[in-house]
Amino acid sequence: MTDTHAVDHPVEEHAHGSDMKYVVVALILGGLTAIEVALYYVDAGALNAPLLLSLALFKFVLVALYFMHLRYDNKFFTRVFFGGAVLAVAVYLAVLFSFHVWD
């Protein structure tokens, strides 16, 4: 059995992005990380936390949609994964608020 056998029976072809698209997404992720680190040193006052959390959320979604292919894959996977993530955030925010972490 050779590699050409796999070509004879095409492997799963999602409507995935091209390699160049992946590189662009990775560059965006790198740039966003650089902005995050800059925000650590430049005090943005009350905006600091919302900005950092927004950047992290954006990076999270970018990886999930493009690298994990949720943008192109079965929508059920999106519901399962983001369902777990949203449940985790909701449960633990409730816990943290009940312990007055931000008082």
């Binding site: 072809e13 990380t33 600091n48 999930a64 994964f81 777990g84 985790a88 449960v91 943290l96």
Partner: protein
């Protein structure tokens, strides 16, 4: 697998990638299982991150983690892990084109970047212990080491999976099973997204709370 057998499997609902049979949901059980597992992992890491947020400023003895963070060093580690997600997705893309040789190159590159990240974590842990902050020094250090240690264990498992996949491919045992590589890729990307949250919440945000 003969051509006849391949056609028979397709007729009975074989997954396009040969990675398992389609089910009534239209997706393979293996991939579904990985996504459900990753959804549950969100709760595990959510618990560990919350525990750290609860205790990070309640140290009575010894230094707090936030007092001895080396942000430039951790930033580089984070960048390395982000780039490993790029090499992983390129491995999956190569597999989907049937290019196993290139897939192996990207898998090894991903494993290498994972090892660089792990080495950084070992260095960071060692330097923290030298600064006087061990696992049991205070509640903040305990929650920090448990959280980042659990993440490091996940990275280690991911590296084992990637190298195993490379070995299996070299032995010609994952022909047509592109979904196997894709499923391993999902796990690896999850490890990356968890670190995105840890880096922001634990390293960049918590110290200034």
């Amino acid at each position: 697998m003969s051509t006849d057998t391949a056609h028979l499997e397709t007729a009975h609902g074989a997954a396009p990638g040969g990675g398992g049979h389609l089910t009534s949901t239209g997706v393979t059980n293996e991939k579904m299982a990985m996504w459900v597992f990753l959804g549950s992992e969100c709760l595990l890491f959510g618990a560990l991150i919350s525990t750290y947020l609860l205790y990070h400023d309640r140290a009575v003895t010894g230094p707090k983690p936030s007092e001895i963070y080396d942000i430039p060093f951790t930033s580089v580690s984070s960048f390395v892990l982000l780039m490993s997600s790029l090499t992983m997705v390129l491995a999956v893309a190569a597999m989907s084109r049937g290019d196993q040789r290139r897939m192996r190159v990207w898998l090894v590159a991903t494993a290498f970047l994972g090892m660089v990240f792990l080495s950084g974590q070992v260095y960071e842990f060692t330097s923290f212990v030298r600064e006087g902050m061990g696992l049991t020094t205070n509640v903040a250090s305990s929650s920090f080491f448990v959280l980042t240690g659990f993440h490091g264990a996940h990275v280690t498992l991911g590296i084992v999976m990637l190298l195993s996949m490379t070995g299996l491919s070299l032995g010609g045992r994952i022909k047509e099973r592109s979904e196997t590589v894709e499923i391993a890729g999902l796990y690896w990307h999850f490890v990356d997204v968890v670190w995105i949250v840890i880096f922001t919440v634990v390293y960049l945000l918590a110290p200034g709370q």
